[in-house]
């Protein structure tokens, strides 16, 4: 549904997106992660034909977005952070107006969507009277009007309270389950991405630093919590024995391939280093993401480039 090949965008001297390859197959909920200014919104802007790419090729629903925008966006819906509407008009009128930019939409279709998003009874009220949650529902309704195959959600939970975030999460799950939509979700909320997405890509300073499944993200390294008498001596020895590959935060070690915790313990006992705790540390998306960013900030391009990158 989404194919980006070598896409870059330069604003003045700054590269907002650099050499981005991305592939989102049909039926997937794909998460786009990255801090503010990482290039997520620019990438989404390019996918929707709002931002012109400096280089590269973007295909949406099989059509080149820069050359065949109308066909590419025919069955695409989008929601942006902080939904904005014509506040002086009713929700219904807003939906009518926005639908006219895609295709003539019968009132029955609008009514059906209004019911689907749960705005029934309030659709003829002015949008200025809507709460933030209702605006988000209206944003979802306008995105669903063209009967989309692809839904692009740019931080849809932005500004919502915890209840609203939960509701949005359930709605996204419902969208995929009931309407079999392909969804691209850009979000800061790692918990949300973890619960919804099957695959993710992480952007940092305009570059993709990871793409793969959530399982890939969590299993890049097998971390073990190690509490010993002398951590520095222990890790130096374990590294020289090639039992571990990395250490973190003075308490975690990454096991080398094929190495089990019992080998570690045996070696430490042999060195007469007291062992107080050895436990498998489960990698969360949050810890994975934070480490990825930490590595990136440490300006170790080779480390970043050598990270597993599963392009579909």
């Amino acid at each position: 549904m989404i194919q980006l090949r070598g896409v870059s965008k330069q604003f003045g001297a700054r590269w907002a997106v650099r050499d981005l390859d991305l592939s989102v197959p049909r039926g997937e909920i794909f998460g786009l992660l990255g801090h503010n200014g990482a290039g997520k919104s620019t990438a989404i802007g390019m996918m929707l034909g709002q931002v012109w790419p400096t280089t590269g090729e973007l295909r949406i629903c099989g059509h080149d977005i820069t050359r065949d925008r109308a066909k590419a966006l025919q069955r695409v819906g989008a929601i942006f952070e902080t939904p904005v509407f014509y506040d002086y008009l009713s929700g219904w009128k807003n939906l009518q107006i926005l639908s006219h930019y895609t295709a003539p939409t019968p009132p029955e279709r609008i009514q059906k969507i209004v019911e689907w998003v749960g705005l029934t009874g309030r659709e003829h009220d002015k949008v200025s009277k809507y709460s933030h949650g209702m605006r988000t529902r209206l944003a979802l309704a306008q995105a669903l009007l063209p009967d989309p195959e692809l839904l692009i959600l740019d931080e849809p939970s932005d500004g919502l309270d915890p209840e609203g975030i939960h509701e949005m999460r359930l709605t996204i799950q419902r969208l995929q389950k009931e309407l079999s939509l392909t969804i691209l979700l850009s979000s800061h909320l790692l918990n949300e991405v973890e619960q919804l997405c099957t695959r993710i890509a992480v952007l940092n300073q305009g570059k993709k630093v990871f793409e793969g499944t959530l399982a890939d993200a969590k299993q890049t390294k097998h971390w073990v919590r190690l509490r010993v008498g002398d951590f520095a001596r222990a890790t130096a020895s374990l590294q020289s024995e090639k039992l571990i590959t990395d250490t973190r935060n003075g308490s975690l070690v990454a096991l080398a391939d094929g190495v089990k915790t019992d080998s570690l313990v045996r070696r430490l006992v042999a060195l007469d280093i007291p062992v107080f705790e050895v436990a498998q540390e489960e990698e969360t998306l949050e810890s994975f993401y934070l480490n990825l960013m930490q590595d990136s900030r440490a300006a170790k391009p080779t480390t970043l480039d050598s990270r597993p990158s599963t392009s579909a």
Binding site: F11, S41, T42, G45, L48, G49, Q50, V51, W52, R69, A70, K71, A72, L73, Q74, V76, G77, A78, F80, E81, T82, V84, F85, Y86, Y88, L89, K93, Q96, I97, L98, H100, Y101, T102, A103, P104, Q142, P146, I152
Partner: protein, 282 residues
């Protein structure tokens, strides 16, 4: 599909309260001017002018005469302001509010969107001019009788339009003058619309367009630019006055209309070209 989109743009424009500011301002100013004409020396001066030229003043101080007198200051001051206020809003306000990004996530081409918006603005400008003319006749009709029409409009540069005509003939020319005034209003709107297509605030687009007009007026009034006055857009805006001249200078009016049509097209093309190349971001 195009008409649905045009209807949507019209619904957006006429759904906003600020769209009606111009209509309200005209309503108010016309009545103030009407009172001023009726109860000040303005009416006496007009009567003296008529009588000095051998006409019976009571026959020509009429609905149409007063309507045209009321129109002049409004056309010079209020019309550019309110038309450009709306023109400056057309694209820049949507970009500022963020609704433009939502529209452009749909399969409508930028050119088509702009053309629909521009056409909406043109319809607004035409409605504003027609309302202005109709209101002027209506309110003047409440106070003055429906009789012959008298025109006395001095034009900068020495020429003066002086004419008297029957009510029927006067109404015909009055209507024709409004067609040309509508073209003027469209041109003003197109200028503001052009600036609105650039990455700027709506107020900045309006101010830039007004500055452009102001500059044109100033340059046109300077003796140094006498030979270049055809290049001043405001020079061509006066074609509406020429409708009342005897004989009517058709070639001059046609020339002015062609220039204004050219300015409209140029402004649209510049705006559309820049808008097409622009990145629309939040």
């Amino acid at each position: 599909m195009f008409f649905l989109q045009l209807r949507s743009e019209l619904a957006k424009l006429f759904g906003k309260k600020r769209t009606y500011i111009g209509f309200g301002a005209f309503l108010l100013s016309q009545n103030v001017m009407l009172l001023a004409f009726r109860y000040s020396n303005w009416q006496k001066g007009t009567a003296r002018l008529l009588e000095g030229n051998g006409y019976v003043a009571t026959e020509f101080i009429s609905t149409l005469t007063v309507a045209v007198l009321m129109l002049i200051p409004q056309i010079l001051l209020l019309m550019p302001l309110y038309v450009m206020l709306v023109g400056g809003d057309l694209v820049a306000k949507e970009a500022e509010d963020g609704t433009l990004r939502m529209i452009l996530s749909r399969p409508i081409s930028r050119f088509r969107l702009l053309f629909t918006k521009w056409l909406t603005g043109v319809i607004f400008a035409a409605i504003l001019v027609v309302s202005l003319g109709a209101m002027a006749v209506f309110f003047a009709g409440c106070w003055f009788e429906w009789k012959g029409m008298f025109i006395f409009i001095p034009i900068p540069g020495g020429q003066t339009i002086f004419n008297v005509m029957s009510a029927g003939e006067g109404l015909k020319y009055y209507a024709l003058a409004h067609v040309i005034l509508a073209v003027n209003a469209c041109t003003m709107l197109s200028l503001a619309f052009m600036f609105s297509c650039f990455n700027m605030k709506p107020a900045a687009a309006t101010i830039l367009a007004l500055s452009f007009l102001f500059l044109s007026v100033v340059m046109e009034g300077m003796p140094f630019f006498e030979d270049w006055k055809e290049f001043a857009i405001t020079h061509h805006f006066r074609a509406w006055v020429l409708v009342f001249a005897k004989p009517m200078p058709l070639a001059q009016i046609a020339e002015a209309l062609c220039v204004l049509a050219g300015v409209n097209v140029t402004a649209f093309v510049i705006g559309a070209t820049h808008f097409h190349m622009r990145d629309i971001k939040s």
